[in-house]
Amino acid sequence: MNLTLKIWRQKNPNEKGKIVSYPVKDIDGDMSFLEMMDVLNVELIEKGENPVAFDHDCREGICGMCSMYINGEAHGPDRGVTTCQLHMRKFKDGDTIYIEPWRAKAFPIIKDLMVDRSAFDRVMNAGGFVSVNTSGNTIDANATPIPKEDADKAFEAATCIGCGACVASCKNASAMLFVSAKVSQLALLPQGKVEAKERVIKMVNTMDEEGFGNCTNTGACEVECPKGISLENIARMNREYLKAMILK
């Protein structure tokens, strides 16, 4: 198929960016979206132009590095996939595709389609862990049985890949889905309960300091999340936060 790509080009954080139009030809439906971008880039390089910079690494939907806003949707029109898992068979010959970076105050643009998501790391540094040292002398792994239901829910929350699609999709650029997934995972497990109160307060405070917006329950994040992280987690985080504030 032949397509027209309208891509956000921005040389660096300080210069102004703009949408530039590129035609691409003979795109195969079996290609992934990023492989289609590779085709464009090789063409640009061999013509002596600058290729489009974009983040990507594992190309199997798990590292969370790829981050394209395609036709107004984080990771494009398919559901439950990252950009690297989006296949060109989802488009048709003659389509025009708009490709932009994640847009959020807390995710400044570095170049073209690449953004700086280190704010997520800083939220994690504030409390996204269980305070246990590496000793090899913790209790036996089976000493504390965990109800399967809790373990499964914790796992589902823990599958978040930290890509930032939730922030990009949210009209308030809120990071509630990301933060609540970690808060939930650890609050559901006995190992994480010990410091649950302290954790939720620190993570929420850092989230606010980093400039993410508030949650107004529109639910766009859940729809666009490639891992299907549930809004339930936000409710659980709010509960944890309230509990922590009252009992502080």
Partner: protein, 737 residues
């Protein structure tokens, strides 16, 4: 120095070639003609000049043999005493650094995956000042995250006869008797601690209804010792290590350098004292010093271009250490994983793995009859329409006792054998079926019985079975469906082997120190534990064992001598020289401005590697590979095109620097494979097989680690042999029949 060689000056070479001295200098500058600087002047080895004149001359093992030194130049530091006591005795005897002194010591860790991440967190917890580097935008994205199936541990929770000894034995046997007994036994010993530690961190492993941990079994093993978190075990373990790192970053004990790439190792007075790194966002080249450097930079499977590795996975950090004196051990040991999604076309940028755990429930087959194969390829027949007696379940046929659960190398070769014989099923003829129909039916019946449901229709039973399968492998099935657009709940998956893991890597001693003092190597980047073939679910185990439980002890033994050293200055000649080297390498690449993208050369290299240094190798193919790689390397340095500038974010420059190193590593892999004329594990030499076509090891001549030393010329490495001694295990030919 080459004893046979004769050293020539530039003017002599100019005379021989009948060109100007300037031209000779240009050839030296471009890397085409190898020269050594002796006392500040260029001297060219006669043999290098011959090579320059006649690069097509095939590599000769005789050249190599002249270089072989029979005494291994390093101690492997293996402790004395009985195998089972070695690690505990060693731990109690090695030197410690007191907590107040740890504050005075800096450690650089390169890589933030299971090995690097776990090491960073543990070392910081101990009190060292850690600086961690990764090229991704966050340490959470290291490629360990993509590991699917699980992690082994000798917990014996299932009471099925597992033990530390059995895990040790399985790992040595699975690795085809090419790993060190002492290292592997230690790995088996600490494996149980890993599970305890990860659960304490909040890693949500799969559990049974009673609340206890669940296990599954993996290839090459007769017990269930694999812990898992659906098909995302690597992700959960990595996020565990990442959270431990986050805690230390928050405390200021780890300084994190994301989007930074190590481009050289700095040696001061014979010790690793720092690195040169490039800030990938600004292009700035930086000097970083430390008392020790830990490389946890992963494997080099991307030398094949198409592999299951992430796009950015590279050998650069390890290769730079190699160029500075670290031995590269058994580089030809590559793991070709049997269950990957087949290649669909030329545009393909990477391959996707389907966890080996699928072989627990999936049966692998191809059609028995050629007319069925052809009908399938033409789209006239569906696999589900072929009756059981017309299917060849070739693994069950050839290996009745292990069946679909033979080790990876065996399963991969068997698939290649069927496809080479013409029975491959997709358009390319390079795919076999992995079929869940029997498992779906079996689980459906079990479930119906549990629920006391009689009189269910076949479809209702199958639907119950599909739910069971979905619980076990849901995300893998979804991934397959998204990529291939074919629903594996209803039709068999198509799979084909792909490069997945590299058992070879930098040589390390028992303490995980490379042949450069102060340079440690952990995880996939080292060679130590998997011999010639890695068993499933052992990579995660090794990465975490090295990072959490081995390095934090052994590195102290070395650093105990450094408590009075004080901070290492970067304002020294060694750092400045290394910095200049990196800068000039970059400017050399940027100046070429040829006609081809970096990917063009990478794909070309990958093709040579896959065809000649892939699943089956022979002397002729390996010799061809060596010549071809040299040609691609020469072409690369004259015709690559890197757009943009070096002082800005430039993904093409990043790729070029990585591919430049792959172009040297690839040749070493071929040389190593050529030298090892036996078949073992992931390395199958066609010249060395049994009458039945199984791999034939040659223990008499090859029970050693081939530790290659850089000589200044990538085509002329020096071979050092560390002999492997088996005192506790008897070497036998592997049989999975």
């Amino acid at each position: 120095m080459d004893k046979k060689g004769q050293l020539l000056s530039i003017s002599q070479v100019a005379l021989i070639l009948n060109v100007s001295e300037k031209t000779v200098r240009r050839h030296i500058q471009s890397g085409k003609l190898i020269s050594k600087k002796i006392g500040g002047v260029h001297r060219i080895n006669k043999s290098d000049l011959d090579h320059f004149l006649n690069p097509e001359k095939s590599f000769s093992l005789n050249d190599l043999k002249a270089e072989i030194d029979n005494s291994f130049p390093r101690e492997n530091q293996e402790p004395d005493g009985p195998l089972v006591d070695k690690w505990s005795t060693h731990k109690s005897k090695i030197k410690l650094v007191n907590p107040a002194n740890k504050r005075l010591i800096d450690i650089i860790v390169v890589g933030s995956g299971l090995a690097g991440g776990a090491a960073s967190a543990s070392l910081a917890e101990l009190g060292y000042n850690v600086k961690t580097f990764c090229f991704q935008d966050s340490p959470r994205r290291a490629h360990s995250i993509a590991a699917q199936g699980g992690i082994n541990a000798a917990k014996n929770y299932q009471g099925d006869g597992d033990s530390v000894y059995r895990l040790f034995y399985d790992t040595i046997k699975g690795g085809d008797y090419r790993s060190r007994e002492s290292n592997v036994h230690r790995l088996a010993e600490v494996s149980a601690n890993i599970i305890d530690q990860c659960v304490a961190q909040g890693v949500p492993f799969a559990r049974e209804y009673g609340g206890l941990l669940d296990n599954r079994s993996f290839g090459g093993v007769l017990v269930s010792r694999t812990f898992y978190a659906k098909g995302q075990t690597g992700q959960q373990l990595l996020l565990g290590a990442y959270s431990a790192m986050s805690r230390q970053i928050g405390k200021g004990k780890i300084k994190m350098y994301s989007r930074h790439e190590m481009l050289d190792l700095v040696i001061v007075d014979g010790k690793a004292r720092g690195i040169i790194a490039r800030n990938l966002v600004t292009g700035e080249i930086q000097k970083h010093s430390a008392h020790a450097v830990v490389l946890g930079s992963g494997g080099y499977g991307n030398v094949f271009f198409l592999s299951t590795n992430a796009m950015g996975s590279n050998v650069t950090a390890a290769w730079k250490a190699h160029l500075k004196g670290a031995y590269m051990a058994n580089p030809c040991f590559t793991q070709i994983h049997p269950t990957c999604i087949p290649v669909s076309g030329d545009h393909q940028s990477k391959l996707t793995l389907m966890s080996e755990s699928l072989r627990n429930d999936g049966r692998i087959w191809v059609p028995k009859n050629m007319e069925d194969v052809l009908a399938i390829r033409e789209g006239k027949l569906k696999p589900t329409e072929i009756s059981a007696e017309n299917r060849d379940y070739y693994l069950e046929r050839r290996y009745p006792s292990f069946g679909n659960l033979v080790p990876r190398d065996v399963a991969s070769r068997a698939a290649k054998e069927r496809c080479d014989a013409g029975y491959g099923v997709n358009k390319t003829g390079e795919a076999v079926y992995l079929d869940f129909a029997s498992a779906i039916e079996r689980y459906g019946n079990e479930k119906a019985q549990v629920l006391n449901l009689d009189n269910l229709s076949k479809e209702e039973i199958l639907s119950l079975g599909r739910k069971v399968i979905e619980n076990k492998y849901g995300n893998l099935f979804q991934m397959y469906y998204k990529i291939v657009d074919d629903d594996p709940y209803f039709t068999p998956m198509q799979i084909y082997p792909a490069v997945h893991y590299t058992m070879g890597g930098l040589w390390v001693d028992y303490n995980l120190m490379s042949s450069i003092p102060g340079c440690y190597v952990a995880g996939e980047a080292n060679f130590s534990d998997h011999g010639a073939n890695r068993l499933g679910a052992s990579a995660l185990m090794q990465g975490l064992a090295d990072g959490y439980f081995v390095l934090p002890y052994t590195i102290g033994d070395y650093l105990a001598d450094d408590i009075r050293t004080g901070p290492i200055s970067t304002e020294t000649k060694e750092f400045d020289d290394a910095l200049e080297d990196v800068k000039s390498k970059i400017s050399k690449l940027m100046k070429i401005q040829g006609e081809r993208s970096v990917d063009y050369f990478h794909r070309k290299l990958g093709k040579v590697m896959w065809n000649n240094v892939g699943m089956a190798r022979n002397a002729e193919g390996l010799n061809t590979a060596i010549t071809e790689i040299q040609k691609i390397r020469t072409e690369f340095y004259s015709n690559v095109r890197i757009p943009g500038e070096s002082n800005e974010l430039n993904p093409e420059l990043e790729k070029a620097l990585r591919v430049a190193d792959f172009l040297e590593l690839g040749e070493l892999m071929a040389i190593d494979a050529l030298n090892r004329s036996e078949s073992c594990g992931g390395h199958f030499r066609e010249e060395s097989q049994t009458d039945e076509g199984e791999a034939l090891r040659d223990d008499e001549n090859f029970t050693y680690v081939a530790a290659w030393e850089y000589s200044g010329n990538p085509s002329k490495p020096k071979l050092n042999k560390e002999n492997l001694e088996y005192k506790n295990i008897k070497l036998v030919q592997r049989s999975y029949k």
